[in-house]
């Protein structure tokens, strides 16, 4: 079977690969969406925090002998804690101001993080082995699916939907959503909003670090691994609708698929296709696919 001259099996495998990439987009854009939605901060250092997640895993493995599974928990905690410090010492001062300042501050932080890691570890990056349990792959008929990639999809989707559930369906989530709008009033109702916000930022950052650990065995762990990703992830968040949790998850997955298809039909354009989609979406639906106008 062929579709536009492309064998069906190849198309199938491309879609699957697209889904895998989509999982990364989903989990990264989810973190961004949470931070934007609840703090009104455009977290430009998200890419750097993703990178640091991967590096923490690498350092843990090579310097401390900590294995992948522990790192999967450990790295988000470490980087999340760093996020908490950043929020407490810096971001806190910016909430009343325009988004622009949050964006600039986190941009500056990204420069610092990337610069320091580059200086310490060079640019070419480090290899992180696939954990033993997940090595190899299975032949699923139309393609060879590395087990590790299958794991990535499962892990990412689980985390995404758990997060969505917490924010949309629990009381804690309701506080968060209300706190986004009018923190003073939520405080007046007796809720410790500053703590909530700190926790939220830490959590968003931890999500980035989690994605970083997931990515470590696939990509080279390198200081710039996040800097090119970040702009695409922004686009995902915008297409989904800023601040919409489900929007960013679904859009992340969907864009992964579309990008995968572009790589077959017009590979040169695969880097730009998400922006084309973004323009079209925003022209038709000004607040993004899932955003509230």
């Amino acid at each position: 079977m062929e579709i536009f001259g492309v064998p069906g099996a190849l198309l199938g495998s491309q879609l699957l690969v697209g889904l895998i990439n989509g999982s990364f987009y989903a989990i990264l854009s989810l973190g961004l969406a949470i931070i934007f939605g609840l703090l009104n901060i455009i977290n430009f250092s998200h890419g750097a925090q993703y990178m640091m997640g991967a590096f923490v895993a690498w350092i843990a493995l090579n310097k401390l002998g900590v294995n992948y599974w522990v790192a999967l928990l450990f790295a988000p905690i470490v980087i999340g804690a760093l996020g908490v410090v950043i929020e407490r010492t810096m971001l806190r001062k910016l909430y009343k101001l325009d988004h622009l300042y949050g964006l600039l501050l986190t941009f500056g932080l990204a420069l610092i993080f990337e610069g320091v890691f580059r200086d310490q570890y060079g640019i070419s990056g480090q290899s992180y082995p696939v954990p033993e349990l997940l090595q190899g792959g299975v032949n699923i008929g139309f393609m060879f699916l590395p087990i590790y990639r299958a794991w990535v999809v499962v892990a990412a989707l689980t985390v995404c939907f758990a997060t969505w559930f917490i924010i949309e369906k629990t009381k804690l989530g309701a506080y968060l959503r209300a706190g986004t709008e009018n923190p003073q009033m939520v405080q007046a109702l007796g809720i410790n909003v500053p703590l909530l916000i700190t926790f939220t930022y830490g959590f968003g950052v931890a999500l980035a670090a989690f994605a970083g650990v997931l990515a470590a065995p696939i990509y080279q762990v390198s200081p710039l691994m996040g800097s090119n990703l970040i702009i695409v992830v922004f686009a995902v968040v915008v297409i989904g609708g800023m601040g919409s949790i489900m929007g960013s998850i679904l859009t992340g997955l969907g864009l992964g698929l579309i990008e995968g298809l572009t790589r077959v039909f017009y590979p040169e354009a695969s880097a730009v296709v998400v922006f084309v989609i973004m323009v079209i979406v925003l022209l038709v639906r000004p607040a993004g696919l899932f955003g509230k106008a």
């Binding site: 690969v17 060079g122 990056g125 590979p267």
Partner: protein, 380 residues
Amino acid sequence: QISDNTVKVGVLTDMSGTYSDLAGAGAVLATEMAIADFIAEAKPAFKVEMVSADHQNKADIASNKAREWFEREGVDTATELVTTSTALAVMKVAKEMNRVALMSGPASTPITNEQCNDVTVHYTYDTYALANGTAKAVTQQGGDTWFFLTADYAFGQALEKDSSAVVIANGGKVLGSVRHPFPAADFSSFLLQAQASGAKIIGLANAGADTTNAIKQAAEFGITPKQSLAGLLMFISDVHSLGLQATQGMYLTTGFYWDLDDDTRAWSKRFFEKQKRMPTMVQAGQYSSVLHYLRAVQATGTDEAGKVMAHMKATPIKDFFGKNGRIREDGRMVHDMYLAQVKTPAESKYPWDYYNIRQTIPAEEAFQPLAQSRCPLVKK
């Protein structure tokens, strides 16, 4: 005869970006070593100084800096210049100011073809030599069907074009290619297309992080070892960062390997002591080119570009790097290149023991023949 009685060497390189590991600080160190060795050996009557700057892989920064160096700081030669766009920009400034440009970092062949000029030396390698070395050897050894994974920009396309020609000339077939955006992180889609093509060899016409990620993911998807990868532009720094597990068995062409003979080992040890890494061919080439330049200045007693260039071209290069080296009229420095195969982890006995040298490609065969040159300087 020598302005200010000082010869100033400018190292314009990527200190912080994608190429900072293969050039960068290591290239600055190599320059310092070259200057120190030159002073020790020649006891020149003039002073030799070095300045360095980060061009951040941006052509405008590079040209701006080069211009400033030439105009304000009396720099006599701009060197290294990894990334073709910066190289092209600087060689024009050098021509305008009549200074010498020594290029050990950049890869593209236009430097010695359409864009060539008489103050530029392209020193270490170029895409033609790499394609020629790797593609030819691999095809001849039975890897006769190819599929290219090409970085979608001028350099990648040139590499693909040159390699395809070599493959076909040696009786092989090119089954297809896919152009990926530059830079890219995820190659699985492209690799799957390469896999679907059924080609024996997947040629990686890209560089740096793109190459390393592609190699890593090829292993992950079970593409290697069923199909083989040929890195068309790989440096020892890439092998080092990927590790032998992922790269074992790959063919690559290099202008230099630290563990080749006693001379290379001696120099590389000195380099290693300072940099804690073994030198790449760019860094070794940088040393060699600067030394060659300084010797020419000493010999001619001037820093005027024309005279120095004439002497450099007239004098064969014989050092640990430039085996059978000479600079042709198009500015191409030709020297022996090596076809290397990456060792298996078991074969590797000590740190940085990465390559088996399979073949020495003689200087005259390694590079694009003058007859094919499109450089106006070449009289036909």
